[in-house]
Symmetry: C2
Subunit: 265 residues, 2 copies
């Protein structure tokens, strides 16, 4: 019996984590659930986010997942501790892997974080960074224009550059900042533009890649990586429109899409 | 009570792991034991390596360590599985973190590994890489001239370039290889020369950095990172000459050296 890794997100942003998991752990099966119907979680209350996340978790637990990845920054900030305590399987969020990677890379100990208003307000990244190293200086900045930009499909071009340039302006006066965390799973889509604007002296950390690596480390440490010969399967569920989700998911994941279904939570 | 992280190595090579641990986890205390007297482990029999490693482990377990890092590739290859089974604390070796990081970075899925004759003969890296992703092509190469070069202190200069150029020659005909694992904890000392020779299109993975990050991930996941206000301490033990070891260690670790002692195992 091949137990899949479960991935939950408020919508499609977590597909960056899923595609990295497929790339880094090609023997593992995956079940992804995006709560597209109620996306975005950013402006919602803590209670709403907790309720919605539990609904997703209960759905995936019935599918016999061996590990849960919370691929949404807001959901991680509000539910990681509770889920870790309550679930009998390992639970990993996107915030600590990003923080750890940034600390590992930074030479100046001055680290930037960009994310949605909700994530930046929660102070989850500064807390995570300082809990590991209290000598870190954090420059955090909400970029509310980035998710709409990504969802409009404008990943490059003059408009993208203009939005990114305007948004990142407050970060341009920190010459010691040598590392920037993309604290939102939508942002890797415009990573090239962000890199161009912020400059090549800054290393950009994408939480998706880092989370996939930490999944590999924890599963490997717990001897739970799949070692059989069975081909992996990739199942996708959404609470929203099947066709819209399938279109976006197949763009990000490629041909490896086995199944997309709409469900009611 | 602040429990330290224990680090063992056949000699001084593991100091690259220790210095990364200090940099990435500045709140954690550390105890390092280098078996300088019986170094190198590379040409020794499996039974000898297992016996010596257990002697080091028993010494550190009496010091109440909360995690054990095997900062030696040969010792990792021969003892990781046994120690994980026998010890009540988490045990981390240097091979899997390097393998995981390389898989995360490589876009071409062709990965090079260099190490001592012992490590390359053990096939531990190819096994680790293929256990995660069996689509990886591995080019491995023993570089027996590198450890003597590093121990002679020739980290750069014409001689270093010549040795590295000659040694890496067999890897120069693999244009698809985009990632190179330094599978020996001595090699980060000549990383710049290796990078220059192999070319900047190849990403070099240093097992020390990666192992430190995985220690952070596992301790973080197990909620065992130190969260108090006590200053960290760094204690160093060697089975060889105190003065020689103290000199090398203070070069690598900087002023943070609290104590160096010679012990008999």
């Amino acid at each position: 019996m091949k137990e899949p890794i479960g991935v939950i997100d408020s919508g499609v942003g977590g597909l960056t984590v899923a595609s990295e998991l497929i790339r880094q752990l090609p023997k593992e099966s995956l079940i992804y659930l995006g709560d597209t119907l109620r996306c975005p979680y950013g402006p919602r209350t803590k209670e709403e986010v907790i309720t919605y996340t539990w609904e997703m978790v209960r759905f995936l637990m019935k599918k016999n997942i061996k590990m849960l990845v919370i691929a949404c920054n807001t959901a991680t900030a509000f539910t990681l501790d509770i889920l870790r305590k309550e679930l009998p399987i390992p639970v990993i969020g996107v915030i600590l892997p990003g923080a750890r990677a940034a600390i590992s890379v930074s030479q100046t100990a001055e680290i930037g974080v960009i994310g949605t208003q909700g994530t930046i307000n929660s102070k989850a990244y500064p807390q995570a960074l300082l809990s590991i190293n209290d000598g870190i200086t954090v420059q955090d900045l909400a970029c509310p224009a980035f998710v709409p930009l990504v969802e409009s499909g404008a990943f490059s071009g003059e408009k993208a550059y203009q939005v990114v340039r305007d948004s990142l302006q407050p970060l341009m006066h920190h010459p010691k900042m040598d590392t920037l965390i993309l604290g939102c799973t939508h942002y890797p889509m415009i990573k090239d533009v962000i890199q161009e604007v912020i400059g090549h002296q800054v290393t950009i950390i994408s939480s998706g890649e880092e989370t996939a690596r930490e999944v590999s480390a924890i599963l490997g440490y717990q001897r739970k990586l799949y070692q059989g010969e069975q081909e992996p399967t990739y199942q996708f569920y959404t609470t929203g429109e099947r066709e819209v989700f399938a279109q976006i998911a197949s763009n990000w994941i490629g041909e490896k899409l086995d199944d997309v279904e709409t469900i009611i939570l």
